[in-house]
Symmetry: none
Amino acid sequence: MAEAILKRERVRDYLLELIETHPAGAPIPAERVLCQQLSVSRPTIRSAVEELVNTGLLVRQHGRGTFVARAKITQEMVSDTGSMSLPQAGGTWSSRVLEHARIPAGARVGRRLHLSPAADIHYIARLRLVDGEPMALEYLHVPAQVAPSLTLHDMESGDFYERLREHGVHVSEAVQSIEPTVVNDSEASLLGVPVLAPALLFERLTTDAEGRQVEYVHSIYRGDRYRIVSRLTLGASPRNTVDVQARVSGDPF
Amino acid sequence: MAEAILKRERVRDYLLELIETHPAGAPIPAERVLCQQLSVSRPTIRSAVEELVNTGLLVRQHGRGTFVARAKITQEMVSDTGSMSLPQAGGTWSSRVLEHARIPAGARVGRRLHLSPAADIHYIARLRLVDGEPMALEYLHVPAQVAPSLTLHDMESGDFYERLREHGVHVSEAVQSIEPTVVNDSEASLLGVPVLAPALLFERLTTDAEGRQVEYVHSIYRGDRYRIVSRLTLGASPRNTVDVQARVSGDPF
DNA sequence: CCTGAGAAGTGGTCTATGCCACTTTCTACC
DNA sequence: GGTAGAAAGTGGCATAGACCACTTCTCAGG
């Protein structure tokens, strides 16, 4: 499999170099200049620049130029397309399984899933990382009765709801709550933040087409790395509606 | 701000029509066909399609075609009030004005409102209560230049955006971020919670139809009394919902 | 000295076109 | 009948060029 060296990627890498070596706010060469320097056409340049603008590394200003963004670490906002999961920010997500078992639900989880505390559930605890850095702790619970043959591999899969569908469970809706909290000792050490650091507590209860509770997720997200951003528009529609607009564009300084 | 009818937007709207009228998984016309139908060039088509792919409404498959995405995840924020305000929980809301002045913006607020730090703003700090019990602290900033004759009464009014409209300011959109934090000494005493208690920090930057920043709001909500609840449904159309997304930020304001 | 008009440079949009890579379908050969 | 291969249709990448909109700077004219 030879390297399919795309010009667009070559340009992007070149720009990333520039971004790293230039201070925030510094201008990068004009698009027409880059064309000559890299021997590619302007649309190709624009495509590469656009990608970096979307990820927040560059800021374009009409008539002035293109500049290195103020906060270089800002990542792109991603709308999760297929699977109904927690909102995921840009970067490379990975996860490490901390614990995995088939255990009784217990009182708290049992109440949420409308189960007897003695009923078995599939349980998995994961540390979720972005670019190798801890981002969140996630505790997933699925009643054993709902999907008896669920495997660890199923629960680790990126498209978990697809796997559930293969087990005959058709997810239909979920109620999610978000509240602020602070991390305790064990959470702090797993996430690599100080004890009592601010964090977001997500809870999600998912229901299938037959009205059964099929999943309860409890997550702790690092407050210093995670933030919820929403864009509200007042338009023709009667409510505060917004069509999926992915980006909150680059913050001019 | 006149309509600068961009072809790209025309194509996008046309595609949105198709997406709404076609079932999930249905193919949309080939790019070269769309070119003829809409009398635009293929790069323009591709640009519009790309936007919708990024927002998760379409799926492209090399060699096969472009299809309406299978399931869109939408997240509806429970917000009872019609106007574009912070989500408000049940109960009787009231507020107590803590401070009110016309002062220079200062560096932090100035940067968000795109003003010189020396530019005047209307400033009001309020303690918001629910059923007589403190719920949140709210700090509202409006550039004096935008609405020179704004009064305290205007800013205290329930329908603040309606008052702004009477001053010739037509609010059009806002970007809001939510992150976890803990309260400091003064916040703690005002809210009646212990120091370091978990809280939610809301920030909202509002823009008017002319693209001016017209309002910056900074609020601290008690974590023990306030929680965001959202209902996620699978397969619904994104209309009349608020899509919440997230981003990683290394430089929180 | 100040001011305003224009030049020059920037990003923003769009066109017309070519070729490549992948998938599906149909056909011709065995 | 089965199968390999060509053909057709799709999206993926890239080019060269044109014109527009906005910003900044310069310089002539007051």
